[in-house]
């Protein structure tokens, strides 16, 4: 049979080609690892020096803490029993915590054990990179300036964005992974599902990544704190900008991802007073697991509205940009800031981005922080540091995914952990919540504003943003161009409900 004859060389040929392919993809890494190893060595040397004396300070500090510990509450630190008011309208009812509850769980050793459940598989698996970025930052902190001399450890589990798996993960971690606190659990259903568990177990659940507004509710859920600029605020920023530039009754066409995430944009557009002035002429919901949005976009294009709102994320950011570049319709595009990872979502469609930017129609986003990989900040010391951390501790760059977001979120966490460890009584769950609900800090990655919390008076973390448009500069690089000033809602959010 002819096939028989063919087979021989086909197999040979393919084997070779496959080999070639394999090398092709792995080559870069090999190099990466090599250089990276070298740099590690160097850094290690450098870090060792300052690392040491830091450690020294911390040790002193820690001894102090320990003494305080032994005397327990007498030391005047926050009580570790009964009901403790830790911030405005925010009370921890420790009496209702489990009998075996220990405020020092997960920090009594030489580690600070942080738990995390996030999608590493399934349709939203690309979020997994955030966790990895966080871990890289933890390693960096452990090397350079450990918190109270302890090692930050991240225990991350895959939940495939399934609430069911997340619940099991979290319960198991609380039971047997000696978790001190949870951080940056991703997704609204997931966080809703685990909040009762962490709350009942009196385990802090910090900076969860969900844009639903109801994470700022310390009166009822003092153990749970939100993180990102919530999508309601974001949408309201868009709406005010729309009304400012296009007047009342401006027409809006909306592309909405059909899940908790997209639906928040949809609901805000339709029901928020701030958006009362805009006229939503068409809403197209698309399947998060779907392959593309061409059909939905075609319908939206036909509306010829003043504004296109893209309440979607990941590959669909790229798709929306690409579709818009292909048609004559040039509305103002407002895109979710979850699309703001230029290298992940715009590099693949840079030509389309250039087309739009040439027509001054690049998508606008309400960004809260500088984007690693944005040419504009190439020389920004903070961004350079982030790139260095990613390279040294993960041999990745900002271009490889959402790792830099992980670093930023890691910084938030380390910030509050540090201030908790400096409080009287040292690092324990009560102090951590107190430190968090009274946080007053800032971060060089932010475009502006502050990171303040004040119990029920100000229960939202990231509250400032600046509208920026994606453009391709003369050098042909992707970058954000500021549109209008930095809007700071600090403190105005109050608390949920």
């Amino acid at each position: 049979m002819r096939l028989g004859k063919l087979k021989g060389w086909l197999v040979l040929f393919s084997a070779l080609a496959l080999f070639a392919t394999a090398c092709g993809s792995s080559a870069t890494e090999v190099v990466g690892n090599a250089t990276d190893a070298a740099e590690d060595a160097v850094d290690a040397g450098v870090d060792a020096v300052d690392g040491d004396d830091d450690a020294m300070d911390d040790d002193d500090a820690m001894d102090g803490d320990d003494d305080a510990m032994e005397e327990g509450d007498h030391s005047g630190g926050l009580a570790l029993e009964g009901s403790v008011e830790i911030a405005t309208g925010t009370t921890l009812n420790l009496a209702e915590c489990p009998d075996d509850w220990d405020p020092l769980q997960g920090v009594d050793g030489d580690e600070i054990r942080i738990g995390q459940s996030l999608p590493q598989s399934g349709a939203l698996a690309s979020f997994g990179a955030i966790g990895e970025g966080m871990e890289m930052y933890f390693d960096f902190i452990n090397d350079t300036d450990p918190i109270a001399g302890k090692d930050l450890v991240l225990v991350a589990r895959d939940d495939g964005y399934e609430a069911g798996r997340a619940v099991a993960n979290v319960e198991e971690m609380i039971d047997s992974d000696d978790i001190f606190a949870f951080a940056h659990v991703i997704g609204t259903p997931i966080n809703l599902a685990i909040r009762p568990i962490t709350d009942e177990a009196c385990v802090p659940q910090l900076f969860n990544s969900s844009g639903f507004p109801f994470w700022g509710d310390p009166a009822n859920f003092p153990w749970t704190v939100g993180n990102i600029l919530n999508y309601v605020t974001e949408t309201e920023i868009w709406c005010s900008s729309v009304i400012e530039d296009f007047g009342e009754g401006a027409t809006v066409a909306a592309l909405i991802m059909n899940n908790d995430f997209g639906k928040t944009y949809q609901n805000t557009l339709n029901s928020s007073p701030a958006c009362a002035g805009v006229d939503v002429v068409s809403e197209q919901l698309h399947d998060p697991a779907g392959a593309d949005v061409t059909n939905e976009m075609t319908t939206l294009i036909a509306t010829d509205a003043d504004v296109l709102v893209a309440g979607t994320t990941s590959k669909f950011c790229s798709q929306t940009t690409a579709v818009m570049a292909g048609v004559e319709w040039r509305p103002r595009i407002y895109m979710s800031y979850t699309c703001n990872n230029l290298s992940s979502f715009f590099s693949p469609v840079i030509d389309a981005a250039a087309t739009l930017s040439a027509d001054d129609a690049g998508p606008w986003m309400a960004n809260s922080n500088k984007i690693c990989g944005d040419d504009a900040y190439a020389s920004d010391p903070k961004i350079i540091e982030v790139e260095r951390i990613l390279n040294d501790y993960g041999s990745v760059t900002c271009a490889d995914g959402s790792y830099s977001t992980g670093v930023l979120y890691g910084e938030f966490l380390v910030d509050v952990l540090r201030s908790a460890s400096e409080m009287e009584g040292g690092l324990n769950r009560v102090n951590l919540m107190a430190a968090t609900w009274n946080a007053d800090t800032s971060n060089d990655t932010l475009l502006g504003g502050t990171l303040k919390l004040d119990g029920t008076d100000d229960a939202y973390w990231t509250e400032g943003a600046q509208l920026q448009a994606v453009i391709v500069d003369d050098a042909g690089n992707l970058t954000f161009e500021p549109k209008g000033d930095f809007v700071d809602f600090e403190g105005q959010g109050g608390s949920f409900g």
């Binding site: 598989s121 919901l285 697991a289 392959a291 059909n295 690409a322 693949p348």
Partner: protein
């Protein structure tokens, strides 16, 4: 009017991909009366091979596509030989399970090797439009996809009707025992079917993500497969022509029927399944199918 034209073009270009994947499914079904649930993942994986060849190894795009097709064909042939042939072709359940296993495994491997961020894919057709009429425009891409399925369909028909291996393939799909009695080696013939199917599938995904609008990522075919099997079943699982008709039909249902009936856009998958169910209720072997698929 412009809207309608655009919708038709959307439907055609989406439908073309479903049609290509559906043809792949049909090739395997004709030979084995089996649905390869991993077909979509085979194709996705082939797509990544093409991407590596073109973007990382620097091959010209069409060369890359063809090499990629050959590679995935060989991979499929190997898989057929090692994982499929050991089983009795008449007993479908183990085979269905094997393909489900492949579905899970291949998707995971792609995720591990290439991660989940969308990847740019080289354009296979000239960019820009053949003509533009207001917001309605016929892109070279759409034309390209239509030409591609025409070529593939023509090629497969020639292959099946004018070559010896094609004759053997048709004989095996018609009657296994008689085929052996005329000296046809059944194993390699079915293997040939799997190889061709994989190649066609790879081309399908390549064409799909070569759209300026889409990118390549491991999940690209997870729902794509549902549309493709709907298309294949709609046309009748054993008819190549049917697969094309089915694919275009599903594509058009999505892009035209759904919006004009005021069905919420998020239900387009539902619409596809509903159409499939209706058709099968009245024509249990699909529109152009001959086989009565009895057992699984």
């Amino acid at each position: 009017m412009e809207l309608l034209i655009n919708r038709v073009f959307d439907g055609l270009s989406n439908g073309a991909t479903y049609a290509l994947l559906a043809m792949a499914l049909v090739m395997i079904f004709k030979a084995t009366t089996l649905i390869n649930f991993a077909q979509g993942e085979f194709a996705m994986f082939g797509g990544f091979i093409v991407m590596v060849l073109v973007l990382e190894q620097g091959l010209p795009v069409w060369i890359g596509v063809i090499v990629g097709m050959i590679l995935s064909a060989v991979l499929a042939a190997v898989i057929e030989r090692t994982l499929i042939r050991p089983f009795d072709p008449a007993d479908h359940l183990p085979l269905v399970i094997i393909t489900l296993g492949l579905f899970l495994a291949i998707n995971a491997i792609a995720g591990i090797v290439w991660r989940f961020d969308p990847r740019a894919f080289p354009e296979m057709f000239p960019s820009g439009n053949v003509f533009t009429y207001g917001n309605a425009s016929l892109s070279w891409y759409t034309v390209g996809t239509m030409v591609t399925i025409a070529v593939v369909a023509g090629g497969l028909t020639l292959l099946l009707n004018k070559t010896k291996i094609g004759l053997a393939f048709r004989a095996v799909s018609s009657n296994l025992e008689s085929s052996e009695l005329v000296g046809i080696r059944v194993g390699p013939t079915l293997q040939f079917g799997w190889a061709i199917a994989a190649a066609v599938g790879t081309l399908g995904v390549a064409v799909f993500v070569a759209s300026p609008v889409r990118q390549l990522e491991p999940q690209v075919m997870v729902t794509g497969l549902i549309f493709a099997v709907s298309a294949a079943a709609l046309g009748g699982l054993d008819s190549l022509g049917g697969a094309i008709a089915g694919g275009l039909a599903i594509g058009l249902v999505q892009s035209i029927v759904v919006p004009y009936l005021g069905v919420p856009s998020e239900l387009s998958l539902f619409a596809a399944v509903a159409v499939l169910m209706l058709v099968l209720l009245f024509k249990p072997a699909g529109l152009f199918g001959t086989a009565a698929v009895e057992r699984v």
